[in-house]
Symmetry: C2
Subunit: 80 residues, 2 copies
């Protein structure tokens, strides 16, 4: 059904930060201005997301998307 990957850097980051802040998905969507559906998709690891929407959420936690070297972990999971 859904072959999304919840265990990617961005999904895990948002989920953990949100929980640390004791917020619900709804509250996060409300505070960041993105749709609730987007927060869900983001945390569930939907592959195709718009960078500015992701950044809209990350900004709330003082972060943003930037290019970083592949971790050995990631490289392994990609078979590179």
């Amino acid at each position: 059904m859904k072959n999304w990957n919840r265990n990617n850097a961005t999904s895990e980051f948002v989920r953990s930060r949100r929980k640390e802040s004791k917020m619900t998905q709804f509250e996060l969507s409300d505070l960041t201005g993105v749709g609730l559906r987007f927060v869900r998709d983001l945390e569930q690891g939907k592959p195709n997301l718009m960078t500015d929407k992701v950044n809209q959420v990350l900004l709330f936690f003082g972060h943003q998307l930037t290019p970083t070297p592949l971790s050995d972990e990631t490289r392994r999971s990609l078979g590179k």
Copy 2:
């Protein structure tokens, strides 16, 4: 006309890496499998891009998009 920002982390990263590799935009699009138009938009700093397409290009350079703390530089340009 275009109020895009060429001077963002991702655009600059791709542009510099591509030039270091002495590749044309066409070659990069060809090797990464994304459209030539996308490489252009990416390097020109189009605000809304799909994360998987960006990653498709970054992967070629051994990188990927991940959440990183806002730099003072970025924070200043955002007025945060």
